[in-house]
Symmetry: C2
Subunit: 247 residues, 2 copies
Amino acid sequence: MTDRPPRRRIPEATVARLPVYLRSLLELADGPAATISSERLAELAGVNAAKVRKDLSYLGSYGTRGVGYDVEYLLFQMSRELGLTQDWPVVIVGVGNLGQALANYRGFADRGFPVGALVDADPAKVGERVGDLVIESIDDLPAVVARLGTTIGLIATPAAVAQEVADELVAAGVRSILNFAPAVVTVPPDVSLRKVDLAVELQILSFYQRRRTAGLAAAVEASARGDGNGAAPGSSGVPTIPAEASE
Amino acid sequence: MTDRPPRRRIPEATVARLPVYLRSLLELADGPAATISSERLAELAGVNAAKVRKDLSYLGSYGTRGVGYDVEYLLFQMSRELGLTQDWPVVIVGVGNLGQALANYRGFADRGFPVGALVDADPAKVGERVGDLVIESIDDLPAVVARLGTTIGLIATPAAVAQEVADELVAAGVRSILNFAPAVVTVPPDVSLRKVDLAVELQILSFYQRRRTAGLAAAVEASARGDGNGAAPGSSGVPTIPAEASE
DNA sequence: ATTTGTGAATGGGTTCACAGCA
DNA sequence: TGCTGTGAACCCATTCACAAAT
């Protein structure tokens, strides 16, 4: 109940669900409930109760038997675990359609990841204004990263230059990359990489749709997880790759 | 080598990788190679060779020992399996920042999923032009879906109305949904759902970054996808939820 | 000599079911 | 009595390693 020693290593799949639990708890924020059961949290997060309990146990067991979990404390623990006690500015590379949209997307800043800079390789775009930001040259990436103290970079360029951009981000000191370009990118082992490929998501949906239409009810559940993002036909939402996408 | 009978049920994780293989093969398109080894394809897709072979075996074994796989035939099989032999127009619900960006995103049409319609609940937006499309009222969703013959819907609304929109999509006949709203959404078992939550991706990266900075080199691989998109620190890129996002 | 296809081994994650505690 | 925490069982996925095929 009090401070617990650092838990066992947290499984990948659990990590991917923590943000979902966090979001669910935040929605409960004002609610009168000071405590929440694994059952209720499971419902909010779209997973089952046993999974919630096991996941939370990796954080160190902050529940009380017969009662449930203290909401405030859970929020605190999860935020700390996820490193969300401070804002992490991100730099977006590639200011085309997608990059621009991401730059304007409220959701990032709202959840602790303000867009701190935009860079592009096209000299014609450099100096252009997007929201509050002015597009900078990719040549200045090291300076931009240093200025922001940024360690997170988003790649929103065409696929052809994604690897090159990733290399530049790494060279500039970025340690976490979220890749939106439809290309396989590799990074050194000390850099984290996640990818979001919108067309791939649709193709996966297309697969299951085809299956269903063909008469085979391939009902699956999943979660990535992820990575993914579960994927397939099923009802509730779960993370991971399979059935549901990610959250 | 010739026509093979329908293979065993294809695992979720394999389905999530097929689009990546497909993309890799397409990049090889013009190349002179008529054939490709599992080793080479693995390299292009950012996975290991054993996985490629097992995955392809679910499609029915179209390789030739000592030689490799026929590129053309693989492309054909995968496209067929993924239902990509025809275009699937999609309808985007919610034309805010994100919805607008998605509407302009080339990547969808390029890969067989042209945006066929945009709908929004805000009367002020209805009638507005975005690219070639005119925003329609969400009240007309059933008609829009019927007109397009669409079975895929994208939710790009605020979280608060995501479930409501999902219900409307389902009622209108949509059988596959890609949810971008940061909310848990549930659908009937005969409807496929995947989710993409951009802030969640960043939070996962934040977790691993924190771990690393804290001295623990938590090197993991993933794919979500995994998570999903796989998720964590690691080098190569893979699909699924975890380590890598999805592509 | 190569490279596939696949059983067997291994590992991670989910679910069960119940003991332990409030 | 209620709900957490967790070992055990189960299931899916990855990886190994080698026999089969060309």
